[in-house]
């Protein structure tokens, strides 16, 4: 049994975002890079599934983490190894840069197929591009059952099946049965991701981390990265500031609070 987890490295949500001089993206020279929040939950879920298998006397599944991105991504992979994943695969190639969900999904699907994972976990949506599409693309290419926004997973490795809970709108969930191999896109809130221990961090240095480029993955460089993307970002901009809202000076907390109360009295909401 092998479980693959796809993680994306993104700017910390608290980073100050500056539009790059090109106007087509974010200036990435001064950012703090972290694992996207849902992907941390996907990693945690893989670790919990492996622990549950061991607890019921079964063989521990092998956990493999995948990430596509430039050299900096290695830090995210090491962090996953420190959390308890067994080995890592880094999809790194100039030709893999600048892809969209379809181009990146194609490269990740090739890597996942090469490792023959029985179960693949991803995040539901990345914190940067938020396409909520990469896992669906991978599942389409691998032609396997897929569920998005997964809030609970029970694995039955004997019958090679899953019982999962998927989120619906308006506070409802649905319970689904799926056959392996399958791909699940994990929603934030499914679990509380653990922190890496010092021991884990030390062990991570010795765990295998493999790099693959396009030829290693067996993908056509014209079908991945910017060349393979179906879309191009032409311009990035800030959303328009408050549409007519009143801005209250926050320099003095007391004065701001008093001014707000006066406004709310006038609006008759107090």
């Amino acid at each position: 049994m092998r479980i693959g987890v796809c993680i994306k490295q993104v700017p910390d949500t608290d980073s100050h975002l500056r539009i790059a001089d090109s106007g087509r993206g974010v200036d990435d020279s001064n950012l703090n890079w972290v694992i996207s929040s849902c992907d941390l939950c996907a990693l945690e879920e893989a670790l919990l599934l492996a622990e549950a298998e061991v607890a019921r006397g079964a063989e521990r599944p092998e956990l493999v983490v995948f990430s596509l991105g430039p050299a900096r991504v290695e830090e995210a992979l090491r962090k996953a190894l420190a959390l308890g994943v067994d080995r890592a695969l880094h999809l790194v190639d100039e030709a893999l840069q600048g892809g969209d969900a379809i181009a990146d999904g194609r490269a990740l699907a090739a890597a996942l197929a090469g490792e023959r994972c029985d179960l693949v976990l991803t995040g539901a949506q990345s914190d940067d591009l938020g396409q909520a599409a990469t896992p669906a693309v991978i599942a389409a290419i691998l032609s396997c059952p897929y569920a998005w926004l997964v809030m609970a997973v029970e694995l039955d490795s004997r019958s090679k099946s899953l019982r999962i809970v998927r989120e619906l709108e308006g506070g409802m969930n649905e319970v689904l049965g799926l056959e392996l191999p399958a791909l699940l896109a994990i929603q934030a809130g499914i679990n509380r991701p653990r922190f890496a221990s010092l021991r884990g961090t030390l062990q991570a240095r010795k765990k295998p981390l493999r790099r693959e480029d396009c030829s290693g993955l067996g993908v056509d460089p014209g079908l991945v990265g910017a060349a393979g993307a179906g879309i191009e970002i032409e311009a990035v901009s800030l959303p328009p500031a408050g549409a007519g809202g009143v801005v209250i000076d926050g320099a003095s907390a007391e004065a701001a609070a008093g001014e707000l109360i006066a406004h709310l009295e006038r609006e008759a909401v107090l």
């Binding site: 975002l17 974010v26 969209d100 969900a101 379809i102 999904g105 914190d127 938020g130 396409q131 909520a132 599409a133 669906a136 693309v137 389409a140 290419i141 059952p145 897929y146 569920a147 998005w148 926004l149 809030m151 709108e169 308006g170 506070g171 409802m172 969930n173 649905e174 319970v175 689904l176 049965g177 799926l178 056959e179 934030a188 809130g189 509380r192 179906g230 879309i231 970002i233 032409e234 311009a235 990035v236 901009s237 800030l238 959303p239 408050g242 549409a243 809202g245 009143v246 801005v247 209250i248 926050g250 007391e254 701001a256 609070a257 008093g258 707000l260 109360i261 709310l264 909401v269 107090l270």
Partner: protein, 306 residues
């Protein structure tokens, strides 16, 4: 002008109006692909993607130069299978668009939020066929549907019978009740910016001083700082109070979907560029740990003197 397919269901479910408005923005030359569960069978992502692919690929040969745009609502169901439809059609995929336009030279442009609505991107497709999901609540009010409506019923693909993708075992409520947010007159919401489980009291104290219910953004619930029944947003409560006070909430699309119908919205956030300010009637750029306690004090004093 592109050939535009609007994917609709018989219930006229969420996002139908936005999808039609987006179709109108692209020239209004629209066909409707109508999904009916009675005909297709229970929803499964592969089934719905294959069925739509079969219908849309059929009309493909008409004019090989003419762009094709397929529009679906960005709901938890269609956003699950729309990327797969794009893969099957060899199309470009653009998720949760809030704007669309057609250049004079026929070029298509779409606008979508990135970085959790802190920035927006103008996107150009590089393929003849485009599948896009439309953000629910993003194309403004309802307008007249594009007409005339050419309605095509989506049929069940012949070869899909064997393909057991998922078995539906049941439905359940995501959380217990107990918090009456939907009918609350006033709500004070704690966002991730409150900082931690022990700091949620800043919001709770202000809520008490305002006789308000306590709301939460999703990360506050996901981190276990407040129970799920406090959550406001697309996967929580949709609320329309008289007064909504957001403390340390950035204003993601999913959060705005739950509260932008509130009568008076107040936002306190230290980031002047936080998207919550675009819907706030009153905004204070400051540390919430300074302003919220000051508000609580003044409101208490005001009540005592009344």
């Amino acid at each position: 002008m592109p050939a535009v397919w609007l994917v609709e269901d018989t219930r006229g479910g969420p996002g139908t109006q936005e999808v039609r408005a987006c179709g109108r923005a692209l020239g209004g030359n629209c066909r409707v692909a109508l999904l009916e569960e009675e005909r297709l069978g229970p929803y499964a992502p592969g089934l719905y993607a294959e069925a739509l692919h079969a219908l849309i690929a059929q009309g493909d040969g008409e004019d090989p130069e003419r762009p094709i745009v397929v529009l679906l609502p960005h709901t938890y169901q269609s956003a699950e299978y729309a990327p797969r439809l794009a893969v099957r059609l060899g199309a470009a995929y653009i998720a949760s668009v809030s704007g669309a336009s057609l250049d004079d030279d026929g070029g298509l442009r779409f606008r979508r939020s990135i970085f959790q609505a802190r920035l927006r991107a103008d996107v150009r497709p590089k393929k003849r066929t485009v599948v896009a999901t439309v953000q629910v609540g993003a194309f403004g009010g309802a307008g007249p549907a594009p007409s005339p409506h050419d309605v095509f019923e989506v049929g069940r693909p012949a070869d899909i019978e064997e393909h057991q993708e998922r078995e539906i075992l049941g439905r359940e409520a995501a959380s217990g009740g107990g918090v009456d947010l939907a009918s609350a007159e006033r709500i004070v919401t704690a966002g991730r910016g409150v900082g931690g489980p022990d700091e949620v009291s800043v919001a709770a104290d202000l809520a008490a001083a305002l006789d308000a219910e306590l709301g939460a953004s999703r990360p506050v619930v996901d981190n276990g700082w407040l129970p799920r029944e406090h959550q406001v947003g697309s996967s929580g409560h949709i609320v329309t109070p008289n007064l909504y006070v957001a403390l340390g909430v950035s204003g993601s699309i999913q959060h705005l979907m739950g509260m932008s119908g509130s009568r008076i919205i107040v936002a306190i956030n230290k980031d002047p560029e936080a998207p919550i300010f675009s819907v706030a009637h009153y905004g204070i750029v400051a540390d919430l740990h300074d302003v919220a306690p000051a508000l609580t004090r003044l409101l208490k004093a005001r009540r005592q003197s009344a």
